[in-house]
């Protein structure tokens, strides 16, 4: 090994392959990391804006599920992502309760909570 690393003779193609492998090695993890970041940011943003939009649009808690579906559709199109699943929970869904929206895009999960106005 010592002789291999210090010898001035050798094969240029072999050396080229070795260097290319070494330099391209981080590309895979970096792409995976970028994909996860993109999904995470999209999930956080979609959850936040969909929840706020829904709360401002509804006049009655019974309108929650339908309005949430309507708010999520354009947001996922604008981000160019596909929401794997989402869950909406609001206890007994009374006025003033805290509503929690959990959005899943790929392996990225975002949870946002907000409350309906008590008035």
């Amino acid at each position: 090994m010592r002789r291999l690393l210090s010898d001035s003779e050798g094969s240029t193609p072999l050396e080229l392959v070795m260097w290319l492998t070494l330099l391209l090695l981080p590309v895979g993890p970096m792409l995976a990391l970028y994909g996860h970041l993109s999904n995470q940011l999209a999930a956080e943003s979609i959850a936040r804006h969909a929840l706020r939009g829904t709360i401002l649009s509804i006049t009655d808690p019974s309108q929650l599920p339908g309005e949430m579906r309507r708010q999520l559709a354009p947001l996922q199109v604008s981000w160019g992502k596909r929401i794997s699943s989402y869950t909406l929970s609001c206890g007994n869904c009374a006025r003033g309760n805290i509503i929690t929206l959990k959005v899943l895009i790929g392996s990225a999960e975002a949870v946002q909570s907000a409350a309906m106005s008590p008035r």
Binding site: R2, L5, S6, S8, L22, L23, L25, P26, P29, M30, L33, H36, L37, Q40, L41, E44, S45, A47, R48, L51, R52, I98, T100, A110, V111, Q112, S113, A114, A115, S117, P118, R119
Partner: protein, 130 residues
């Protein structure tokens, strides 16, 4: 000077430096990614908490600091999104008709030892619609 022109030597330090650089880039990138995602989460919680508190503390259009503080605390203790954060600073203040909140949360870096604090601000104000 002979050292600079000599073609004998070992590439081991070069390989080691290259590998160290790659590992460092991956670790730093993961920290940056985590911090960006976490700051979005903290901002979302701060926005929702101040709207919740402001809504419940208004008296003739002006937020009352004591009610605002207790409402924000109640939201941060009960909302599932806030319970996921490791909050270290919660500053509530009122400036005229505006309610303001500063939230700082502790972020534990995923691949490296150590942690950082991320702070976000949010404010809310009510307006009379004509």
């Amino acid at each position: 000077m002979r050292l600079c022109r000599q073609d004998d030597g070992t590439i081991a330090p070069l390989v080691a430096a290259c590998l160290a650089l790659i590992v460092m880039v991956i670790l730093l990138s993961s920290n940056v990614v985590s911090a960006m995602a976490y700051s979005h989460r903290v901002q979302g919680v701060a926005d929702a908490a101040i709207v919740y508190g402001h809504d419940r503390s208004l008296l003739i259009g002006k937020p009352q600091i004591a009610t605002l503080r207790s409402s924000v605390t109640n939201f941060l203790q009960t909302a599932p999104s806030a319970k996921r954060l490791d909050l270290v600073v919660v500053n509530v203040s009122v400036s005229g008709e505006r309610s303001e909140l500063e939230l700082c949360a502790l972020l534990q870096y995923p691949l490296t030892l150590g942690s950082g604090v991320i702070c976000r601000r949010a404010s809310a104000q009510s307006f009379l619609l004509p």
